[in-house]
Symmetry: C2
Subunit: 272 residues, 2 copies
């Protein structure tokens, strides 16, 4: 479907345009925001796209982003610095600025994800999800919900959707199917976005449902996914001192682990 | 014991000396190496110390290091850049160079770890370790073992020490007691070192026992530890495409989670 208008919506939304040595321009389009603030996963994808261009390596072996300040929809600049260029891997940093102020700082070791990596150990399996059509289709809800669910097709496990009815399950877990809308294929850049795409795990605890600011997110791309749905699972084990971690596992339709992630976030406050 | 010669051995080994705006000098002393290469945890601690000085915040809320090239014992330079200075938190990067070449690049959000954080969720508990004196005391072994075990007191769970007799357990797990030698108290900087101090988890798989190069390590300091031993547990669930993750949990003597870590490493080759 490459080349048709709807197929490349994510690719277009995360496009970076060269603007000089180590300089790129980009934009967060309206609709890739959560209540006016740019979605963290899309910002991560934009930074990754710039890092891929700067290093000439398509996939983040491991990428870390620190979220410094909210980003509004509209134009962005990205400045990249290559720190080490090796034979297979390259390490570089990217600072995303808006109106002259740094908003996100990322550092990554970039490389090429294998399509079919040899698996020597896999303790863990994709989450057991009911069929897509039985899962809870996340759609924009006026006010609270991310409007980016029009572009990222998310189907939450019904057992994890309790928070949406004001009935948190008590387990800090979110599981769901995920793909880009319009059947756009997912690459290593899209996987980074996917590591931050589900509702916060802690919405299923007895905590406020609202903005859960990410301090830092690290994603490892472990394989290049085949076309189709991802099965994703996010879990939080420790909420202490106003902070929590959320660990993600993302699997493709073959049951291959394609990405692993952890973020450190602040306990949500009510509202957005 | 502060002030006495042996008490501050770790603090001294990770000292950074100002050398101009955002510039620091340090040195890896002989004995903080593994077969001639500086220990990754000590390099992380040196970078953290520089980041703490540059931001005037004692503890890494979250720190990520990318390991670019091996480091020999001897002098180092650290260059720090403050990216954002907030009220409570500050984000900065540090590049550790030796002989003009970047060796480690770190980025951290620094702050102040709480001594006694309120715990809202704790799914997981410290590992059940036999008494210290029953555990396997890691001591330098000619050739292979890190000589830094003279300065970091490590007592491995006997069930995880099989690899040392050439009998890997088959479970990619390492558990053990850890403290600084001479009873030196552990701060947030020492915790970062501790996240990389145990033998690689995968030594207990049917893989070569040898250098397991860390590509990237991220550590979250979740609380300031009380004096005494840490109880630590490291696990690997996925070895694929020549890469593996190792997740660490570190607890203090109260049973408080003080740090959480994940590293991405390459599958070991035989030898060092």
């Amino acid at each position: 479907m490459a080349g048709t208008a709807p197929a490349g919506r994510f690719a277009r939304a995360t496009t970076v345009t060269p603007a000089g040595e180590g300089r790129w321009t980009a934009a967060v389009e309206p609709g890739w925001d959560v209540a006016g603030n740019a979605h963290g996963g899309v910002l991560l994808a934009i930074a990754t796209r710039a890092l891929a261009a700067a290093t000439d390596r398509p996939d983040p072996v491991t990428i870390t982003a620190h979220y410094l300040r909210p980003v509004a929809t509209g134009p962005l600049e990205v400045a990249t610095t290559v720190i080490r260029r090796g034979r297979a891997l390259a390490t570089a940093s990217a600072t995303v600025t808006q109106e002259g102020t740094p908003r996100v700082h990322a550092v990554a070791t970039m490389g090429t994800a294998e399509a079919d990596p040899e698996v020597l150990l896999a303790e863990g399996a994709p989450p057991d999800l009911p069929p897509v059509e039985v899962c809870h289709h996340m759609v924009p809800v006026p006010g609270a919900a991310p409007s980016f669910t029009e572009k990222v097709d998310l189907r939450l496990h019904p057992d994890d959707a309790g928070f949406m009815r004001g009935e948190p399950t008590g387990r800090a877990r979110m599981r769901g199917w995920l793909r880009l809308a319009d059947g756009e294929a997912m690459d290593g850049v899209a996987l980074t976005m996917a590591t931050d795409a589900l509702p916060p795990t802690v919405f299923n605890l007895d905590l406020p449902v609202g903005w859960t600011p990410t301090v830092e997110l690290t994603a490892h791309v472990r394989a290049r996914p085949v076309e189709g749905w991802l099965r994703t699972e996010f879990r939080t084990c420790f909420v202490s001192g106003g902070r929590l971690e959320a660990d993600g596992l993302l699997w493709d339709e073959r049951g291959v682990l394609v990405a692993q992630s952890r973020q450190l976030a602040l306990v949500p406050r009510r509202g957005w």
